[in-house]
Amino acid sequence: MGESFTYHRSAKVRWYFVASLLLALVSDSLVISVHASPIFPPFSLLVLFYWAGHFLDRSYIVTAFILGLLSDTLTQTPLGAHAIIYVSLIYLLSRHRLHFRSFTPWQQAIFITGYFFIYQFTNWIFFDPLLTDTHAIYFWLMPFSAAIFWIIIAPLFNRFTLQVEQN
């Protein structure tokens, strides 16, 4: 019964899922030309964390792989580099997503900071970014900005998905 319930939920919010990822990609594309771009988290990954952490009937690994490739194209990095990072992080999340789901958005934000710190560290290792003093601060502050965005995004998405389920 539980499985059928979770499967049903995921199928119900399919269009929200697609629309949210498209919106996240547009946001990623928008912030890339902003001077303070290093402080913004990859919104596509943040949104995928929401879906992977709240809807347990799918693994979201393939979505992570595709989003990673799109992110590589968007940021002009070697194809597959972001895909590896995205797939690894979503896999890590999937190991404890039952716990993750039971936390409040504030508690989840602490985990998000950790995940995005790993993301930023691997970015630093893989791509050797050129950072001025200001950009270095932005770059290492990004996990915290991801947590702030999470606190906004997660309750908002919770409300949307709840409405869909109730209808």
Partner: protein, 282 residues
């Protein structure tokens, strides 16, 4: 499985350039997303342009008219110089050909200020005849080169990208070197011997070596020259001449395809020149 596939793709892209078609496909998929993302910026620009008052427009019009006159005068000079160069080159017995390029205007739809890579996206793609390695310039100088092409968009690697290397020469002395991007609107000029005559303010232009960039386009200005102890080369910092951050319209230069007939005429011309030289020498 996805992890392994990602590693395979990474290796193929890093060491073999085998996935350029896949990247083109992904870029084509991202084009509408990038266009949607550019709407706020375009809207702001349009709004900013619309609120310019009548006096400002009159003033801009006057400035443009003056610029047109000056450019026409310069064009006349250039035509004369081109003829003079052709005459001197024919006297020297060289081919006397200046590489001609077709020019295409494109609009910048996306610009990256990302610390990982410096690029811009243009609204022209393979359907418009754009191909990789085409040179991109603006009104002031070289912007970069096309690295990825999708049907309706293309990516330009800027000359400030850390992976970008450009064969150049110093305009004043013709000393050759390699210009390497160092991110954030700056670049470095490498391989200039420490005993070279170079000073702050010198213009650096494309040398044409390597065959990718046409010769003689301004690229950067020298901003700082450092001589470190007994190092064989100078450390030279430069700033791009083109307005990388502000450019909205750019030109894509494409080498003009040489028809077999033109090639034959050129070869005949070279052969005749060589024969004449040999006869004169005898």
């Amino acid at each position: 499985m996805a992890f392994i596939l990602a590693i395979v793709l990474l290796a193929a892209d890093r060491y073999g350039e085998m996935v350029s078609e896949l990247r083109g496909f992904l870029l084509a998929g991202l084009t509408p997303i990038e266009q949607v993302a550019s709407i706020p910026k375009t809207f702001f620009k349009e709004f900013d342009r619309d609120i310019v008052d009548y006096d400002e427009l009159k003033r801009q019009n006057q400035i443009l008219k003056t610029e047109v006159l000056l450019l026409k005068a310069k064009q006349q000079q250039l035509i004369n110089l081109k003829q003079e160069v052709a005459r001197l080159e024919s006297l020297l017995g060289t081919t006397g050909k200046i590489a001609d390029h077709t020019v295409q205007i494109a609009t910048v739809t996306q610009f990256s200020q990302n610390p990982i890579s410096q690029f811009m996206t243009l609204n022209k793609g393979s359907k418009d005849g754009v191909s990789t390695q085409d040179t991109v310039i603006d009104a002031n100088g070289v912007v970069g080169q096309i690295i990825n092409v999708a049907p309706y968009s293309a990516r330009v690697m800027l000359i400030t990208d850390p992976d970008h290397h450009l064969p150049v020469r110093i305009q004043r002395t013709s000393q050759r070197g390699i210009l390497k991007g160092s991110g954030y609107d700056s670049s470095e000029l490498n391989f200039i011997p420490s005993n070279s005559n170079i000073k702050v303010g010198d213009i650096i232009e494309t040398s044409g070596l390597g065959g990718v960039f046409p010769s003689g386009y301004p690229v950067a200005t020298v901003t700082e020259v450092e001589k470190t102890g007994s190092a064989p080369y100078l450390k030279i910092f430069t700033q791009p001449i083109s307005e990388l951050n502000k450019a909205h319209k750019v030109l894509i230069l494409k080498p003009e395809a040489i028809s077999p007939q033109t090639l034959k005429t050129d070869l005949d011309y070279d052969l005749n020149s060589s024969l004449n030289q040999t006869e004169t020498g005898d």
